[in-house]
Symmetry: C2
Subunit: 377 residues, 2 copies
Amino acid sequence: MEFKLNSKELEKHLSKIIPGVPTKTPMTILENFLFEITDGLLTIYATDLEISLQTSLNVISDSNIKIVVPAHLLFNVVKTLKDTTIQFKVQDNGKLLLSTNTGKYTLSYLEATEFPEIPSIKTDEQNTKDINEFTIQGNELKESIDKTSFAMSREEMRPAMMGTLFEFDDDGLRFVATDGHKLVNLLNKKIATKINQQYIVPERAISVLSKILDEREVKVYLSKTHVSFRLSELQLITRVIGQKYPDYASVIPVENEFSLKINTKELSDAIKRMMLFSVSSIRKVKFSIKKDVVNISAEEASIGASGEENVPCEYSGDDLEIGFNSAFLNDILNHISAENEIVFKLHSPTKAVIVVPVEKKDNYDLTMLLMPVRLNN
Amino acid sequence: MEFKLNSKELEKHLSKIIPGVPTKTPMTILENFLFEITDGLLTIYATDLEISLQTSLNVISDSNIKIVVPAHLLFNVVKTLKDTTIQFKVQDNGKLLLSTNTGKYTLSYLEATEFPEIPSIKTDEQNTKDINEFTIQGNELKESIDKTSFAMSREEMRPAMMGTLFEFDDDGLRFVATDGHKLVNLLNKKIATKINQQYIVPERAISVLSKILDEREVKVYLSKTHVSFRLSELQLITRVIGQKYPDYASVIPVENEFSLKINTKELSDAIKRMMLFSVSSIRKVKFSIKKDVVNISAEEASIGASGEENVPCEYSGDDLEIGFNSAFLNDILNHISAENEIVFKLHSPTKAVIVVPVEKKDNYDLTMLLMPVRLNN
């Protein structure tokens, strides 16, 4: 059987789903795309068993097929072709023949029976009471996960924290990520739903999602086991992490009465230099906070080097000395750098510190939290 | 003792010589800069024993010093500072103190006695009869080595080929590099000297040189053991490879009577796709050359895939089938890609092929050479 596709259109589709193909996997079948043509609609799938990506395009074809094609080889051939028509011919001898005006390429294909089943959330059936849904602008969703997801844990000991929490409550949709050292809590008040549910989306889905989102609207469907993100012809389906998310609200202090207002860029530059003097495991940097200046210092005994800087601030509270992990603080600052000024809310050298932007947004509440590290003295 | 430097000026100087600092070395002293102040002139050195980089700048200082300072730590502190004055204080306790308006940084320094001696070519003495010199525009030298050096060998078995040959003869200055599979021979006719000498500049010097060259004029001094490149305040000194360069002229065929003219971009695009179908060790791609078309094909049995393309050409000669290593051919094409059309001069499937640009330049002769690989049939 045969079908035709434009090289540039196919490249656009493949480039969106190639992030779903695992690069190192013991299951070599996953290094392929599944090509399925049903009644003139070609759907191409990629999966690593945790997430699946799929895209659809119309195709003129004389029959239906379902075959498995080497993903990177096909993508690399297609993306180096100029704008041309590719004629696909599925031969009975296990060969897939691609022809253009000037070239011919033969790839081996496999039958689809070995390819894992792609999960789906059936939104077109009657029995959808367990499925929640909402709609969001793609770039808005991207910004929310990009500001949040860096705080996810990489430690397999606590699987619930290896994802980003999507929590629906009366205030809107809340994105939460934490690794126990830092926490981000971003509330989007524009998403108003009647849902009161929590869904934990795993790290890999978040990272692929960030790559494929653009200005287009995204429809999100959420079931007990899977979440699906649909951008017109493109769809990402991921399993959710079936664990209870830790009670993050209880670790956010409500009564941190000391307030330190500081320029984000100045602090961030100083912390980047202090990282050079805090390279051992704990990466400790010390803040000595006074009324209008923070003295920031770090000392690396292993190389006999140290640094300190004074950064102007506005501080209301008792003079305070507090230590942070400079790499974690740098992470926080990198993800709040769009804000001109930020406020640290503090209480004592051992209690979690809250970091918030000075300027409040109508539809967003962004709260970051950083655990201090113990000072020796 | 104390001295002052502007952060941005120092950053500019350090950024030019930091490529001379080895990243992995058992001799940890080489991970440092040598700072030497003599009568108000600060010279900073970096070396990996094979090459040395040095830069000089004026400084207001009350005495002379010679100390050894951690290279990357100093560079990273300086480059993250804004435009400001840095006060350096060399303390007797082995600490170097850097102060700015807002910050203080303490680094450990070492005495200079442990630092290796930096070779030099003494051009200001009377006895310079063994030293040759010439002057060239920096970007012209950069273009010459960039077009040539990719063909250098990485195999330690043949040390002479692990560098680029600078050969002075009656026609001008010739740059030659080869690994036995491919060869580049670039003659610059503008450099007229009375020298008849060969110098082999090692790979690392070539690669660092390519990074630091700009539009400024370069003075090049060549002795039996070292070559020095001087760009006003900046200097690169490298040892030369003290071996005899192979007789490259004898491998360049003079009577390749078949001529294949082809569009560089079209051929290059086709070869990039054929590389996908020639991934095993020999990376074989086959040319079947006829009067006005080359059929280019590759087959990868290990993955059951193959490709072929027809590229239009102008060919005068007997029909010919010849094989190449697609990666080597791709290298050649990437470095001749500035040329719109190229000519392959051929003789037989087993004889070296010459690749030259169609358009001749007044002051340059560029010749590339590629060995074929055997076809099975």
